[in-house]
Protein backbone atom coordinates (compact mmCIF):
# COMPACT_ATOMS: atom_id res chain seq x y z
CA UNK A 1 0.00 0.00 0.00
CA UNK A 2 1.36 3.51 -0.87
CA UNK A 3 2.39 5.62 2.11
CA UNK A 4 1.70 9.03 0.55
CA UNK A 5 -0.86 10.61 -1.74
CA UNK A 6 0.08 10.16 -5.40
CA UNK A 7 -1.22 11.51 -8.70
CA UNK A 8 -3.68 8.68 -9.29
CA UNK A 9 -5.27 9.28 -5.89
CA UNK A 10 -5.67 12.97 -6.63
CA UNK A 11 -7.25 12.25 -10.02
CA UNK A 12 -9.65 9.70 -8.49
CA UNK A 13 -10.55 12.12 -5.68
CA UNK A 14 -11.12 14.86 -8.25
CA UNK A 15 -13.56 12.70 -10.22
CA UNK A 16 -15.36 11.73 -6.99
CA UNK A 17 -15.69 15.36 -5.87
CA UNK A 18 -16.81 16.52 -9.34
CA UNK A 19 -19.42 13.72 -9.42
CA UNK A 20 -20.72 14.58 -5.97
CA UNK A 21 -20.94 18.28 -6.86
CA UNK A 22 -23.02 17.32 -9.90
CA UNK A 23 -25.18 15.03 -7.74
CA UNK A 24 -25.79 17.50 -4.92
CA UNK A 25 -26.28 20.61 -7.06
CA UNK A 26 -28.68 18.65 -9.28
CA UNK A 27 -27.36 20.40 -12.38
CA UNK A 28 -28.31 17.15 -14.07
CA UNK A 29 -30.37 14.34 -12.59
CA UNK A 30 -28.45 12.57 -9.83
CA UNK A 31 -28.59 9.22 -11.61
CA UNK A 32 -27.20 10.77 -14.80
CA UNK A 33 -24.48 12.41 -12.70
CA UNK A 34 -23.59 9.09 -11.04
CA UNK A 35 -23.42 7.25 -14.38
CA UNK A 36 -21.32 10.07 -15.89
CA UNK A 37 -18.97 9.95 -12.88
CA UNK A 38 -18.73 6.15 -13.02
CA UNK A 39 -17.92 6.07 -16.73
CA UNK A 40 -15.34 8.83 -16.30
CA UNK A 41 -13.74 7.02 -13.34
CA UNK A 42 -13.41 3.76 -15.30
CA UNK A 43 -12.14 5.46 -18.45
CA UNK A 44 -9.58 7.61 -16.63
CA UNK A 45 -8.63 4.75 -14.32
CA UNK A 46 -7.94 2.50 -17.30
CA UNK A 47 -5.91 5.22 -19.00
CA UNK A 48 -3.79 5.86 -15.92
CA UNK A 49 -3.71 2.22 -14.93
CA UNK A 50 -5.23 2.39 -11.43
CA UNK A 51 -8.72 1.00 -12.23
CA UNK A 52 -9.93 -1.78 -14.53
CA UNK A 53 -13.34 -2.72 -15.91
CA UNK A 54 -13.22 -5.91 -13.87
CA UNK A 55 -12.55 -3.96 -10.66
CA UNK A 56 -15.41 -1.60 -11.51
CA UNK A 57 -17.82 -4.52 -11.93
CA UNK A 58 -16.54 -6.09 -8.70
CA UNK A 59 -17.11 -2.77 -6.89
CA UNK A 60 -20.87 -3.01 -7.50
CA UNK A 61 -22.37 -4.58 -4.38
CA UNK A 62 -24.70 -7.17 -5.91
CA UNK A 63 -26.15 -8.02 -2.50
CA UNK A 64 -27.37 -4.43 -2.08
CA UNK A 65 -28.66 -4.01 -5.63
CA UNK A 66 -30.46 -7.37 -5.76
CA UNK A 67 -31.93 -6.94 -2.29
CA UNK A 68 -33.32 -3.52 -3.24
CA UNK A 69 -34.64 -4.85 -6.55
CA UNK A 70 -36.36 -7.82 -4.93
CA UNK A 71 -37.96 -5.65 -2.25
CA UNK A 72 -39.14 -3.12 -4.85
CA UNK A 73 -40.79 -5.93 -6.81
CA UNK A 74 -42.47 -7.32 -3.70
CA UNK A 75 -43.84 -3.89 -2.80
CA UNK A 76 -45.02 -3.40 -6.38
CA UNK A 77 -47.09 -6.55 -6.03
CA UNK A 78 -48.33 -5.72 -2.52
CA UNK A 79 -49.49 -2.17 -3.24
CA UNK A 80 -52.44 -2.96 -5.54
CA UNK A 81 -53.90 -5.43 -3.02
CA UNK A 82 -55.10 -2.53 -0.84
CA UNK A 83 -53.27 -3.71 2.29
CA UNK A 84 -51.97 -0.23 3.07
CA UNK A 85 -55.37 1.39 2.51
CA UNK A 86 -57.06 -1.15 4.76
CA UNK A 87 -54.50 -0.55 7.52
CA UNK A 88 -54.84 3.23 7.30
CA UNK A 89 -58.63 3.16 7.44
CA UNK A 90 -58.67 0.71 10.36
CA UNK A 91 -56.32 3.05 12.24
CA UNK A 92 -58.50 6.06 11.46
CA UNK A 93 -61.59 4.26 12.76
CA UNK A 94 -59.76 2.80 15.74
CA UNK A 95 -58.35 6.11 16.92
CA UNK A 96 -61.87 7.56 17.01
CA UNK A 97 -61.89 11.12 18.27
CA UNK A 98 -58.37 11.46 19.61
CA UNK A 99 -55.90 13.19 17.25
CA UNK A 100 -52.99 12.19 19.49
CA UNK A 101 -53.89 8.53 19.26
CA UNK A 102 -54.26 8.88 15.51
CA UNK A 103 -50.75 10.36 15.29
CA UNK A 104 -49.24 7.61 17.44
CA UNK A 105 -51.02 4.78 15.62
CA UNK A 106 -50.30 6.08 12.13
CA UNK A 107 -46.64 6.73 12.97
CA UNK A 108 -46.28 3.35 14.65
CA UNK A 109 -47.67 1.48 11.67
CA UNK A 110 -45.56 3.46 9.21
CA UNK A 111 -42.48 2.80 11.36
CA UNK A 112 -43.19 -0.92 11.58
CA UNK A 113 -43.75 -1.22 7.84
CA UNK A 114 -40.57 0.80 7.22
CA UNK A 115 -38.61 -1.76 9.22
CA UNK A 116 -39.21 -4.32 6.49
CA UNK A 117 -40.25 -2.38 3.40
CA UNK A 118 -38.78 0.69 1.79
CA UNK A 119 -39.92 3.74 3.77
CA UNK A 120 -40.14 5.91 0.66
CA UNK A 121 -42.75 3.62 -0.86
CA UNK A 122 -44.49 3.43 2.50
CA UNK A 123 -44.75 7.23 2.57
CA UNK A 124 -45.83 7.44 -1.07
CA UNK A 125 -48.81 5.26 -0.14
CA UNK A 126 -49.53 6.59 3.35
CA UNK A 127 -49.12 10.35 2.76
CA UNK A 128 -52.18 10.78 0.49
CA UNK A 129 -54.16 8.41 2.73
CA UNK A 130 -53.20 10.53 5.73
CA UNK A 131 -54.36 13.71 3.99
CA UNK A 132 -57.64 12.00 3.07
CA UNK A 133 -58.15 10.86 6.68
CA UNK A 134 -57.38 14.37 7.93
CA UNK A 135 -59.72 15.85 5.33
CA UNK A 136 -62.56 13.57 6.40
CA UNK A 137 -61.88 14.17 10.10
CA UNK A 138 -61.52 17.92 9.45
CA UNK A 139 -58.10 18.19 11.07
CA UNK A 140 -54.77 19.59 9.88
CA UNK A 141 -52.73 16.81 8.18
CA UNK A 142 -49.41 18.59 8.73
CA UNK A 143 -48.45 17.03 12.11
CA UNK A 144 -49.32 13.58 10.81
CA UNK A 145 -47.36 13.91 7.57
CA UNK A 146 -44.27 15.18 9.40
CA UNK A 147 -44.51 12.56 12.12
CA UNK A 148 -44.92 9.74 9.62
CA UNK A 149 -41.88 10.85 7.62
CA UNK A 150 -39.71 11.39 10.70
CA UNK A 151 -40.72 8.17 12.41
CA UNK A 152 -40.50 6.09 9.24
CA UNK A 153 -36.88 7.24 8.98
CA UNK A 154 -36.35 6.29 12.62
CA UNK A 155 -38.06 2.91 12.19
CA UNK A 156 -36.13 2.14 9.02
CA UNK A 157 -32.86 2.72 10.87
CA UNK A 158 -33.48 -0.28 13.11
CA UNK A 159 -33.16 -3.09 10.59
CA UNK A 160 -30.76 -4.27 7.94
CA UNK A 161 -33.36 -3.80 5.20
CA UNK A 162 -35.16 -0.72 6.52
CA UNK A 163 -32.97 1.84 4.81
CA UNK A 164 -30.61 1.61 1.80
CA UNK A 165 -27.59 2.81 3.87
CA UNK A 166 -28.25 -0.04 6.30
CA UNK A 167 -28.27 -2.57 3.45
CA UNK A 168 -24.91 -1.22 2.31
CA UNK A 169 -23.48 -1.17 5.84
CA UNK A 170 -24.72 -4.69 6.56
CA UNK A 171 -23.36 -5.98 3.28
CA UNK A 172 -19.95 -4.34 3.71
CA UNK A 173 -19.63 -5.26 7.37
CA UNK A 174 -21.03 -8.77 6.89
CA UNK A 175 -23.66 -8.02 9.53
CA UNK A 176 -26.63 -10.37 9.80
CA UNK A 177 -30.26 -9.23 10.04
CA UNK A 178 -30.44 -10.47 13.62
CA UNK A 179 -27.20 -8.75 14.67
CA UNK A 180 -28.48 -5.54 13.10
CA UNK A 181 -31.83 -5.54 14.85
CA UNK A 182 -30.24 -6.64 18.14
CA UNK A 183 -27.79 -3.75 18.12
CA UNK A 184 -29.89 -1.07 16.48
CA UNK A 185 -33.27 -2.10 17.92
CA UNK A 186 -32.84 -0.95 21.54
CA UNK A 187 -31.43 2.53 20.79
CA UNK A 188 -33.95 3.04 17.99
CA UNK A 189 -36.90 2.02 20.19
CA UNK A 190 -35.74 4.55 22.79
CA UNK A 191 -35.26 7.22 20.11
CA UNK A 192 -38.71 6.40 18.66
CA UNK A 193 -40.46 6.84 22.02
CA UNK A 194 -38.65 10.09 22.77
CA UNK A 195 -39.31 11.38 19.26
CA UNK A 196 -43.03 10.68 19.58
CA UNK A 197 -43.10 12.55 22.90
CA UNK A 198 -41.27 15.52 21.38
CA UNK A 199 -43.65 15.54 18.40
CA UNK A 200 -46.72 15.37 20.65
CA UNK A 201 -45.34 18.28 22.65
CA UNK A 202 -44.46 20.40 19.64
CA UNK A 203 -47.74 19.75 17.85
CA UNK A 204 -49.88 20.00 20.99
CA UNK A 205 -51.87 22.93 19.60
CA UNK A 206 -52.92 20.92 16.53
CA UNK A 207 -53.66 17.76 18.47
CA UNK A 208 -56.17 18.95 21.03
CA UNK A 209 -59.08 16.53 21.56
CA UNK A 210 -61.99 16.96 19.18
CA UNK A 211 -65.36 18.27 20.21
CA UNK A 212 -67.58 16.60 17.61
CA UNK A 213 -68.06 12.89 17.19
CA UNK A 214 -66.58 11.01 14.30
CA UNK A 215 -68.84 8.54 12.56
CA UNK A 216 -66.98 5.44 11.62
CA UNK A 217 -69.13 5.26 8.49
CA UNK A 218 -67.16 8.20 7.13
CA UNK A 219 -64.70 5.56 5.96
CA UNK A 220 -65.66 2.66 3.74
CA UNK A 221 -63.65 -0.35 4.85
CA UNK A 222 -65.41 -2.78 2.50
CA UNK A 223 -63.70 -1.34 -0.58
CA UNK A 224 -60.22 -1.05 0.93
CA UNK A 225 -59.01 -4.53 0.04
CA UNK A 226 -59.33 -5.02 -3.70
CA UNK A 227 -58.51 -8.72 -3.85
CA UNK A 228 -58.40 -10.78 -0.66
CA UNK A 229 -56.76 -13.74 -2.38
CA UNK A 230 -53.91 -11.62 -3.72
CA UNK A 231 -53.48 -9.97 -0.34
CA UNK A 232 -53.08 -13.29 1.47
CA UNK A 233 -50.71 -14.63 -1.19
CA UNK A 234 -48.54 -11.53 -0.92
CA UNK A 235 -48.58 -11.60 2.88
CA UNK A 236 -47.46 -15.24 2.73
CA UNK A 237 -44.56 -14.34 0.45
CA UNK A 238 -43.59 -11.41 2.66
CA UNK A 239 -43.85 -13.64 5.73
CA UNK A 240 -41.41 -16.02 4.06
CA UNK A 241 -39.03 -13.12 3.34
CA UNK A 242 -39.15 -11.91 6.95
CA UNK A 243 -38.59 -15.45 8.26
CA UNK A 244 -35.63 -15.84 5.92
CA UNK A 245 -34.23 -12.47 7.01
CA UNK A 246 -34.23 -13.67 10.61
CA UNK A 247 -32.56 -16.95 9.69
CA UNK A 248 -30.34 -16.05 6.71
CA UNK A 249 -27.17 -16.09 8.80
CA UNK A 250 -27.90 -19.61 10.08
CA UNK A 251 -28.82 -20.80 6.61
CA UNK A 252 -25.67 -19.28 5.16
CA UNK A 253 -27.51 -17.16 2.58
CA UNK A 254 -27.19 -13.48 1.76
CA UNK A 255 -30.11 -11.15 2.63
CA UNK A 256 -30.47 -10.56 -1.11
CA UNK A 257 -30.98 -14.27 -1.72
CA UNK A 258 -33.51 -14.39 1.14
CA UNK A 259 -35.47 -11.60 -0.57
CA UNK A 260 -35.13 -13.29 -3.95
CA UNK A 261 -36.53 -16.54 -2.54
CA UNK A 262 -39.56 -14.63 -1.27
CA UNK A 263 -39.82 -12.85 -4.60
CA UNK A 264 -39.76 -16.16 -6.45
CA UNK A 265 -42.59 -17.40 -4.25
CA UNK A 266 -44.56 -14.20 -4.85
CA UNK A 267 -44.05 -14.43 -8.62
CA UNK A 268 -45.30 -17.99 -8.57
CA UNK A 269 -48.32 -17.15 -6.42
CA UNK A 270 -49.27 -13.86 -8.06
CA UNK A 271 -48.20 -14.38 -11.68
CA UNK A 272 -48.12 -10.62 -12.35
CA UNK A 273 -47.95 -9.04 -15.80
CA UNK A 274 -44.20 -8.53 -16.38
CA UNK A 275 -44.62 -5.19 -18.16
CA UNK A 276 -46.59 -3.81 -15.19
CA UNK A 277 -44.30 -5.27 -12.52
CA UNK A 278 -41.03 -4.17 -14.11
CA UNK A 279 -42.49 -0.75 -14.83
CA UNK A 280 -42.94 -0.27 -11.08
CA UNK A 281 -39.27 -0.78 -10.23
CA UNK A 282 -37.32 2.39 -9.49
CA UNK A 283 -34.51 1.77 -11.97
CA UNK A 284 -33.24 5.30 -11.45
CA UNK A 285 -32.40 4.59 -7.79
CA UNK A 286 -30.75 1.27 -8.65
CA UNK A 287 -28.58 2.83 -11.36
CA UNK A 288 -27.70 5.68 -9.00
CA UNK A 289 -26.36 3.15 -6.51
CA UNK A 290 -24.48 1.26 -9.24
CA UNK A 291 -22.84 4.52 -10.37
CA UNK A 292 -21.83 5.42 -6.81
CA UNK A 293 -20.33 1.98 -6.20
CA UNK A 294 -18.22 2.28 -9.35
CA UNK A 295 -17.09 5.83 -8.50
CA UNK A 296 -16.06 4.96 -4.94
CA UNK A 297 -14.54 1.69 -6.23
CA UNK A 298 -12.22 3.81 -8.38
CA UNK A 299 -11.12 5.92 -5.42
CA UNK A 300 -10.55 2.73 -3.45
CA UNK A 301 -8.55 1.18 -6.32
CA UNK A 302 -6.37 4.29 -6.45
CA UNK A 303 -5.34 3.47 -2.87
CA UNK A 304 -6.62 6.74 -1.41
CA UNK A 305 -9.29 5.27 0.88
CA UNK A 306 -6.91 2.58 2.16
CA UNK A 307 -4.32 5.25 2.92
CA UNK A 308 -6.97 7.35 4.66
CA UNK A 309 -8.04 4.32 6.71
CA UNK A 310 -4.46 3.52 7.67
CA UNK A 311 -3.85 7.11 8.77
CA UNK A 312 -7.07 7.15 10.79
CA UNK A 313 -6.30 3.79 12.43
CA UNK A 314 -4.91 5.57 15.48
CA UNK A 315 -8.36 7.02 16.15
CA UNK A 316 -9.75 3.55 16.70
CA UNK A 317 -6.76 2.03 18.41
CA UNK A 318 -8.07 1.92 21.98
CA UNK A 319 -11.59 1.77 23.50
CA UNK A 320 -11.57 5.37 24.76
CA UNK A 321 -10.57 6.73 21.40
CA UNK A 322 -12.90 4.31 19.63
CA UNK A 323 -15.90 5.55 21.61
CA UNK A 324 -15.04 9.15 20.80
CA UNK A 325 -14.46 8.29 17.14
CA UNK A 326 -17.82 6.50 17.03
CA UNK A 327 -19.65 9.46 18.56
CA UNK A 328 -17.94 11.90 16.19
CA UNK A 329 -18.79 9.66 13.23
CA UNK A 330 -22.42 9.43 14.39
CA UNK A 331 -22.87 13.21 14.65
CA UNK A 332 -20.89 14.00 11.48
CA UNK A 333 -22.96 11.42 9.60
CA UNK A 334 -26.12 13.01 11.01
CA UNK A 335 -25.07 16.53 9.99
CA UNK A 336 -24.00 15.37 6.54
CA UNK A 337 -27.27 13.45 6.09
CA UNK A 338 -29.22 16.59 6.96
CA UNK A 339 -27.69 18.67 4.20
CA UNK A 340 -26.77 16.12 1.52
CA UNK A 341 -27.97 12.71 0.39
CA UNK A 342 -26.96 10.10 2.97
CA UNK A 343 -26.32 7.42 0.33
CA UNK A 344 -23.15 8.94 -1.21
CA UNK A 345 -21.87 9.69 2.29
CA UNK A 346 -22.44 6.08 3.37
CA UNK A 347 -20.91 4.64 0.20
CA UNK A 348 -17.80 6.79 0.76
CA UNK A 349 -17.50 6.00 4.46
CA UNK A 350 -17.75 2.22 3.99
CA UNK A 351 -14.33 1.71 2.35
CA UNK A 352 -12.75 4.07 4.88
CA UNK A 353 -14.09 1.94 7.74
CA UNK A 354 -13.01 -1.21 5.90
CA UNK A 355 -9.57 0.41 5.57
CA UNK A 356 -9.52 0.93 9.33
CA UNK A 357 -10.45 -2.72 9.79
CA UNK A 358 -7.61 -3.77 7.48
CA UNK A 359 -5.29 -1.74 9.69
CA UNK A 360 -6.31 -3.90 12.64
CA UNK A 361 -8.82 -1.54 14.26
CA UNK A 362 -12.04 -2.80 15.86
CA UNK A 363 -14.64 -1.26 13.59
CA UNK A 364 -17.92 -2.84 14.78
CA UNK A 365 -18.90 0.24 16.85
CA UNK A 366 -18.26 2.44 13.84
CA UNK A 367 -20.77 0.52 11.70
CA UNK A 368 -23.46 1.11 14.35
CA UNK A 369 -22.48 4.77 14.77
CA UNK A 370 -22.67 5.28 11.01
CA UNK A 371 -26.06 3.54 10.79
CA UNK A 372 -27.50 5.64 13.65
CA UNK A 373 -26.08 8.88 12.24
CA UNK A 374 -27.29 8.47 8.66
CA UNK A 375 -30.61 7.01 9.85
CA UNK A 376 -31.52 9.87 12.18
CA UNK A 377 -29.68 12.82 10.64
CA UNK A 378 -31.98 13.11 7.65
CA UNK A 379 -34.87 14.16 9.87
CA UNK A 380 -33.61 17.65 10.63
CA UNK A 381 -34.28 19.17 7.21
CA UNK A 382 -36.96 18.61 4.60
CA UNK A 383 -34.29 17.59 2.07
CA UNK A 384 -32.54 15.22 4.48
CA UNK A 385 -34.55 12.18 3.42
CA UNK A 386 -36.71 11.28 0.44
CA UNK A 387 -39.59 10.42 2.78
CA UNK A 388 -39.51 14.04 4.04
CA UNK A 389 -39.81 15.37 0.50
CA UNK A 390 -42.86 13.18 -0.10
CA UNK A 391 -44.54 14.52 3.05
CA UNK A 392 -43.76 18.12 2.03
CA UNK A 393 -45.02 17.54 -1.51
CA UNK A 394 -48.28 16.01 -0.27
CA UNK A 395 -48.79 18.87 2.21
CA UNK A 396 -48.35 21.37 -0.62
CA UNK A 397 -50.61 19.51 -3.04
CA UNK A 398 -53.55 18.96 -0.68
CA UNK A 399 -54.52 22.63 -0.57
CA UNK A 400 -55.75 22.41 3.04
CA UNK A 401 -55.25 25.64 4.95
CA UNK A 402 -52.29 25.43 7.35
CA UNK A 403 -51.13 22.09 6.01
CA UNK A 404 -48.16 23.25 3.94
CA UNK A 405 -44.80 22.30 5.47
CA UNK A 406 -42.31 25.02 4.57
CA UNK A 407 -38.55 24.30 4.85
CA UNK A 408 -38.45 26.51 7.95
CA UNK A 409 -41.47 24.77 9.48
CA UNK A 410 -39.74 21.45 8.93
CA UNK A 411 -36.54 22.58 10.63
CA UNK A 412 -38.49 24.07 13.55
CA UNK A 413 -39.75 20.56 14.32
CA UNK A 414 -37.04 18.45 12.70
CA UNK A 415 -33.93 19.93 14.32
CA UNK A 416 -35.04 19.60 17.97
CA UNK A 417 -36.47 16.16 17.25
CA UNK A 418 -33.21 15.01 15.65
CA UNK A 419 -31.05 16.55 18.37
CA UNK A 420 -33.04 14.85 21.12
CA UNK A 421 -32.98 11.56 19.21
CA UNK A 422 -29.23 11.74 18.63
CA UNK A 423 -28.63 12.67 22.26
CA UNK A 424 -30.60 9.62 23.41
CA UNK A 425 -28.79 7.38 20.92
CA UNK A 426 -25.41 8.82 21.97
CA UNK A 427 -26.18 8.21 25.64
CA UNK A 428 -27.15 4.59 24.98
CA UNK A 429 -24.12 4.13 22.70
CA UNK A 430 -21.82 5.47 25.43
CA UNK A 431 -23.34 3.65 28.42
CA UNK A 432 -23.59 0.32 26.62
CA UNK A 433 -20.47 0.75 24.49
CA UNK A 434 -19.21 -2.77 25.26
CA UNK A 435 -22.37 -4.11 23.64
CA UNK A 436 -21.58 -2.20 20.44
CA UNK A 437 -18.05 -3.63 20.30
CA UNK A 438 -19.40 -6.81 18.69
Amino acid sequence: MPHAVDGNMLVAAGILIASYVLIFTEVIHRTSAAILGAVTMVAVGMLLGFYTQEEALMAIDANTILLLTAMMMLIAMLRPTGAFEYTAVVIARFSANDPRRLLIYLSLVVSLISMVLDNVTTLIVFAPLTVLIARILQINPMPYLMSEAILSNVGGASTLVGDPPNIMIGSAGNISFNAFITHMGPPIVAVWVVTVLVLLLMFRADLSPRRQDIHTQQFDLRNAVKDKGSLWRMLSALGLVVALFFSHHHLGIYPAFAALLGLAAALLLMQPKPEVLFGEINWSVLMFFVGLFVIVGGVEASGLLGLLGANLAGLAAEPGKLLLTGLILMWVAAVMSAVIDNIPFTVTMIPIILGLEASGAQVAPLWWALAIGVGLGGNSTHIGATANLIAVSESERCGIRGAYISPLAWMRIGIPTTLVGLAVASAIYTVFFDFFLT
Binding site: E85, N223, G399
Partner: protein, 150 residues
Amino acid sequence: MRLMKAVIETPVARHGMLIGDALRICVDKGVPGIPFVDNDTGRIIGRFSVRNVFLHYSIPSDMIKGAHLIGHEALHLDLSSDHYEDVFRRTIDCTILDDAACLTSTAQITKAMALMEKFNSSYLFVIDDGVYRGVVTRLGLTRVLLDEQG
Protein backbone atom coordinates in the same frame (compact mmCIF):
# COMPACT_ATOMS: atom_id res chain seq x y z
CA MET B 1 -67.91 12.47 -44.71
CA ARG B 2 -69.95 10.44 -42.17
CA LEU B 3 -67.90 12.17 -39.50
CA MET B 4 -69.52 15.51 -40.34
CA LYS B 5 -72.87 14.15 -39.20
CA ALA B 6 -71.42 14.01 -35.69
CA VAL B 7 -69.65 17.37 -35.68
CA ILE B 8 -70.84 19.86 -33.07
CA GLU B 9 -69.95 23.42 -33.98
CA THR B 10 -68.60 25.39 -31.04
CA PRO B 11 -66.85 28.68 -30.35
CA VAL B 12 -63.15 28.39 -29.46
CA ALA B 13 -61.33 29.36 -26.27
CA ARG B 14 -58.78 32.18 -26.33
CA HIS B 15 -56.24 33.76 -23.99
CA GLY B 16 -57.91 35.70 -21.21
CA MET B 17 -61.30 33.96 -21.46
CA LEU B 18 -62.90 33.25 -18.06
CA ILE B 19 -63.23 29.66 -16.90
CA GLY B 20 -66.93 30.22 -16.21
CA ASP B 21 -67.53 31.39 -19.81
CA ALA B 22 -65.60 28.46 -21.30
CA LEU B 23 -67.44 25.98 -19.09
CA ARG B 24 -70.77 27.54 -20.16
CA ILE B 25 -69.88 26.94 -23.83
CA CYS B 26 -69.05 23.30 -23.10
CA VAL B 27 -72.24 22.76 -21.14
CA ASP B 28 -74.47 24.49 -23.71
CA LYS B 29 -72.93 22.55 -26.60
CA GLY B 30 -72.68 19.27 -24.70
CA VAL B 31 -68.97 18.76 -25.35
CA PRO B 32 -66.21 17.83 -22.87
CA GLY B 33 -63.80 20.42 -24.27
CA ILE B 34 -63.15 23.08 -26.89
CA PRO B 35 -60.01 24.09 -28.80
CA PHE B 36 -57.73 26.79 -27.45
CA VAL B 37 -56.47 29.01 -30.26
CA ASP B 38 -53.67 31.53 -30.52
CA ASN B 39 -55.13 35.06 -30.56
CA ASP B 40 -52.80 36.21 -33.36
CA THR B 41 -52.56 33.24 -35.73
CA GLY B 42 -55.89 31.58 -34.99
CA ARG B 43 -54.06 28.26 -34.89
CA ILE B 44 -55.15 25.59 -32.38
CA ILE B 45 -52.42 25.40 -29.73
CA GLY B 46 -54.19 23.43 -27.02
CA ARG B 47 -57.54 22.56 -25.53
CA PHE B 48 -59.79 23.66 -22.72
CA SER B 49 -61.08 20.57 -20.91
CA VAL B 50 -63.92 20.50 -18.38
CA ARG B 51 -62.33 17.51 -16.67
CA ASN B 52 -59.02 19.32 -16.30
CA VAL B 53 -60.65 22.34 -14.66
CA PHE B 54 -62.02 20.14 -11.90
CA LEU B 55 -58.75 18.21 -11.60
CA HIS B 56 -56.87 21.50 -11.35
CA TYR B 57 -59.10 23.35 -8.90
CA SER B 58 -61.57 21.11 -7.18
CA ILE B 59 -60.57 17.48 -6.76
CA PRO B 60 -57.53 16.94 -4.51
CA SER B 61 -55.22 14.10 -5.58
CA ASP B 62 -55.59 12.38 -2.19
CA MET B 63 -59.34 12.11 -2.77
CA ILE B 64 -58.80 10.59 -6.19
CA LYS B 65 -56.38 8.01 -4.79
CA GLY B 66 -58.66 7.17 -1.87
CA ALA B 67 -62.08 7.79 -3.43
CA HIS B 68 -63.13 4.18 -2.79
CA LEU B 69 -62.43 4.62 0.95
CA ILE B 70 -64.74 7.58 1.49
CA GLY B 71 -67.81 6.43 3.38
CA HIS B 72 -71.40 7.54 2.83
CA GLU B 73 -71.40 9.63 6.02
CA ALA B 74 -68.57 11.88 4.89
CA LEU B 75 -70.86 14.79 4.16
CA HIS B 76 -68.56 17.81 4.32
CA LEU B 77 -66.25 17.19 1.38
CA ASP B 78 -67.96 19.35 -1.23
CA LEU B 79 -66.26 22.67 -1.82
CA SER B 80 -68.20 25.84 -1.09
CA SER B 81 -70.02 27.89 -3.73
CA ASP B 82 -67.54 30.70 -2.92
CA HIS B 83 -64.73 28.42 -4.06
CA TYR B 84 -66.45 27.75 -7.38
CA GLU B 85 -67.31 31.41 -7.82
CA ASP B 86 -63.62 32.21 -7.40
CA VAL B 87 -62.58 29.49 -9.86
CA PHE B 88 -65.11 30.53 -12.51
CA ARG B 89 -63.80 34.09 -12.42
CA ARG B 90 -60.24 33.04 -13.19
CA THR B 91 -58.86 33.02 -16.72
CA ILE B 92 -58.53 29.71 -18.51
CA ASP B 93 -54.83 30.12 -19.34
CA CYS B 94 -53.38 27.94 -16.58
CA THR B 95 -55.85 25.11 -17.19
CA ILE B 96 -55.05 24.68 -20.88
CA LEU B 97 -53.70 21.30 -22.01
CA ASP B 98 -51.26 21.36 -24.89
CA ASP B 99 -52.30 18.02 -26.45
CA ALA B 100 -55.18 18.75 -28.80
CA ALA B 101 -56.04 15.66 -30.84
CA CYS B 102 -57.38 16.66 -34.26
CA LEU B 103 -58.52 14.97 -37.48
CA THR B 104 -60.08 15.96 -40.78
CA SER B 105 -63.76 15.59 -41.65
CA THR B 106 -62.91 12.92 -44.25
CA ALA B 107 -61.52 10.59 -41.60
CA GLN B 108 -63.39 7.38 -40.92
CA ILE B 109 -65.31 6.79 -37.71
CA THR B 110 -63.06 3.87 -36.75
CA LYS B 111 -60.01 6.12 -37.02
CA ALA B 112 -61.74 8.71 -34.85
CA MET B 113 -62.52 6.06 -32.24
CA ALA B 114 -58.94 4.79 -32.40
CA LEU B 115 -57.56 8.31 -31.91
CA MET B 116 -59.78 8.78 -28.87
CA GLU B 117 -58.40 5.59 -27.37
CA LYS B 118 -54.83 6.60 -28.17
CA PHE B 119 -55.23 10.00 -26.51
CA ASN B 120 -57.43 8.65 -23.68
CA SER B 121 -60.08 11.19 -24.64
CA SER B 122 -63.77 11.13 -25.44
CA TYR B 123 -63.63 13.89 -28.06
CA LEU B 124 -61.60 15.22 -30.99
CA PHE B 125 -61.42 18.46 -32.93
CA VAL B 126 -62.24 18.41 -36.65
CA ILE B 127 -60.08 20.66 -38.84
CA ASP B 128 -60.16 21.02 -42.64
CA ASP B 129 -57.36 23.00 -44.34
CA GLY B 130 -56.55 24.75 -41.06
CA VAL B 131 -60.20 25.75 -40.50
CA TYR B 132 -61.82 24.53 -37.27
CA ARG B 133 -65.11 22.75 -38.02
CA GLY B 134 -66.18 21.55 -34.57
CA VAL B 135 -65.97 18.77 -31.97
CA VAL B 136 -66.81 15.10 -32.39
CA THR B 137 -67.52 13.04 -29.31
CA ARG B 138 -67.69 9.29 -28.78
CA LEU B 139 -71.39 9.59 -28.00
CA GLY B 140 -71.95 11.64 -31.16
CA LEU B 141 -70.23 9.04 -33.31
CA THR B 142 -72.26 6.30 -31.64
CA ARG B 143 -75.44 8.20 -32.43
CA VAL B 144 -74.45 8.36 -36.12
CA LEU B 145 -73.91 4.59 -36.16
CA LEU B 146 -77.25 3.97 -34.43
CA ASP B 147 -79.12 6.36 -36.75
CA GLU B 148 -77.71 4.55 -39.80
CA GLN B 149 -79.33 1.35 -38.57
CA GLY B 150 -82.68 3.10 -38.59
